[in-house]
């Protein structure tokens, strides 16, 4: 207990001794964690949008006249990319078409006999599997034609891919910059106290006693930076998505407060861990060279 008291006191001293450097580190860590958080949230929202689109994505397969409908349905169900299948009779299909056409549906009466064949509404498990599924359906002899929103799927998948890559690049950049700033701050802190550290070693202070305040300093700065970043993100995110949904109501965004809180906690934990790891590495390297006998 006593040792913790001394270590905490020394950590406080370190933070106040290099207060300007500490503030610079804090601001940099906060900005980087903020960018990291926003990029991740953007990526999460794109993923959410894609999932929504995928869940609504339907491939329409029209059955050849005279083909066995139930046998065709069974064969389609066995395809691995199929999430669900719904068979529509010619009457149901015509009714649906009429409903969609509204006042222009009277035009269909001119045709006389119902021209619609049996067809299937096939839902896919993932947008990336659509093209493969369409090829499989086209290859089936019972299927006359296949209709799907091919371009939309391809574009959404491409956006998702680019967003994921951009998020990953930002993620790596933010980690690198934060790590470097924390590393340098602790290194300067250690360097400015190198004589003191040498004296402490000479009078019998343990490595843990000397190094813990430095590790705590780095961890604390990164933790505080992450807290500020999470505060900034949450205060900007909810008004932001509210505004987006007012103007673009069809967008499906991450708006569950529980998910955002969980994300914030994760970001804070990640920031603190990053600070701890960087400080630990620099302190270990410094202590190894300081304690090496001649």
């Amino acid at each position: 207990m006593t040792i913790f008291k001394y270590i905490l006191r020394d950590t406080g001293r370190l933070l106040f001794r290099h207060w300007f450097l500490g503030i610079l580190t804090l601001v940099t860590a906060a900005v980087m964690m903020w960018i990291l958080g926003l990029t991740t949230l953007f990526s999460m929202n794109v993923q959410n949008l894609l999932l929504k689109l995928e869940s609504e994505l339907v491939v329409q397969a029209y059955v050849k006249r005279g083909s066995e409908v139930s046998a065709a349905a069974e064969r389609i169900r066995t395809l691995p990319s199929v999430a669900s299948l719904k068979a529509l009779s010619p009457e149901e299909t015509l009714a649906k078409l009429q409903a969609r056409m509204g006042s222009q549906a009277r035009a269909l009466d001119l045709i006389g006999e119902n021209p619609m064949p049996w067809n299937f509404e096939v839902r896919v498990k993932s947008a990336s599997q659509v093209v493969h599924l369409v090829r499989s359906l086209m290859a089936m002899e019972e299927i006359e034609d296949v209709v799907y929103a091919g371009m939309v799927v391809e574009r959404v998948a491409a956006i998702s891919r680019v967003a994921s890559e951009a998020a990953m690049a930002m993620f790596i950049l933010a980690i690198l910059i934060t790590s470097l700033v924390v590393y340098n701050t602790i290194h300067i802190s250690l360097y400015s106290r190198r004589e003191e550290i040498a004296i402490m070693f000479l009078v019998g202070a343990t490595r843990g006693y000397i190094s813990t305040p430095f590790v705590l300093e780095g961890t604390f700065l990164a933790l505080l930076g992450s807290l500020i970043a999470v505060g900034g993100i949450t205060s900007a995110y909810f008004p932001g998505i509210r505004l987006l949904q007012e103007n673009l109501p069809f967008l499906s965004l991450v708006e569950d407060p529980g998910t955002i809180v969980q994300f914030g906690v994760l970001l804070i934990g990640f920031g603190a861990t990053l600070g701890w790891v960087c400080s630990y590495i620099v302190v270990t390297r410094f202590m190894n060279s300081a304690t090496r006998p001649l």
Binding site: T2, I3, K5, Y6, E195, E196, A198, I199, M200, F201, L202, V203, G204, A205, T206, R207, Y209, I210, T291, P293, L294
Partner: protein, 231 residues
């Protein structure tokens, strides 16, 4: 604590020989001056005892410990039993006299009440009670040296190592420091001290080990700074 150097040679890279085949046996409770010209290896000898320097050949033992084979994790605990005083005092300038003395005990997790009691006691012992809340740069050289002694005494060490403790001090202050060291030795603590001060060695007669170019050239009980015929 007994100190034993057995055939110790130290070569600093690339080829600077600091000590050559040193054999030395210092009994518990002895007071030993290590004398010799600059570059003769005095400081290296002391730094081997504090385990800042390891021998290239031979062994240095303190008590029953072979310092070269000592585990890294055991070094802090060993050093707590070795009081160290350096010519440049090695004090932490932004800490007060009291804090400079107390942090040694804090590093050992000594409870704060005990730290307070012990720090005040050793500060009083070296005559700095009225200066206890001052910082080292506000003190004279002699006072700073006394702070260093108080710090070295804080853990009640069995061995006291002083590297030129009077090197930067005037005649009168040196005599004060010597009196403190003598009283520490009188309490049964082994004291090893390097010095250039002829007056001190000749006044407070103790065992003298003389080094020259890294070799022990004289080891004399109650000797002077130089053999009597050289004085």
């Amino acid at each position: 604590m007994r100190i034993k150097f057995s055939g110790v040679t130290k070569i600093f890279k690339p080829d600077i020989i600091a000590l050559r085949d040193v054999h030395l046996d210092i009994e518990k409770g002895e007071f030993v001056y290590v004398v010799g010209p600059t570059g003769s290896g005095k400081s290296t000898l002391l730094r081997m005892i504090t385990r800042e320097v390891l021998s290239s050949k031979g062994t240095v033992s303190v008590g029953d410990m072979n310092l070269k084979k000592m585990r890294v994790s055991d070094i802090p605990y060993y050093r707590r039993d070795v009081g160290l005083v350096a010519q440049d005092f090695k004090l932490i300038p932004h800490l007060t006299v009291y804090e400079n003395v107390s942090f040694v005990m804090e590093a050992m997790s000594v409870p704060s009440k005990m730290v307070e009691y012990r720090a005040n006691k050793v500060i009083e012992q070296v005559g700095l009670w009225r200066r206890r809340f001052m910082n080292p740069p506000q003190l004279s050289g002699g006072e700073q040296q006394r702070v260093a002694i108080a710090r070295a005494l804080a853990n009640s060490p069995s061995l006291f190592v002083a590297d030129e403790p009077t090197g930067n001090l005037d005649f009168r202050t040196s005599a004060e420091v010597m009196k403190i060291l003598m009283s520490i030795n009188a309490g049964g603590v082994t004291v090893l001290m390097t010095t250039h001060n002829q007056y001190i060695v000749n006044t407070y007669r103790q065992r003298v080990v003389e080094l020259d170019a890294g070799k022990v050239v004289r080891d004399e009980r109650a000797g002077g700074y130089a053999p009597d015929d050289h004085l």
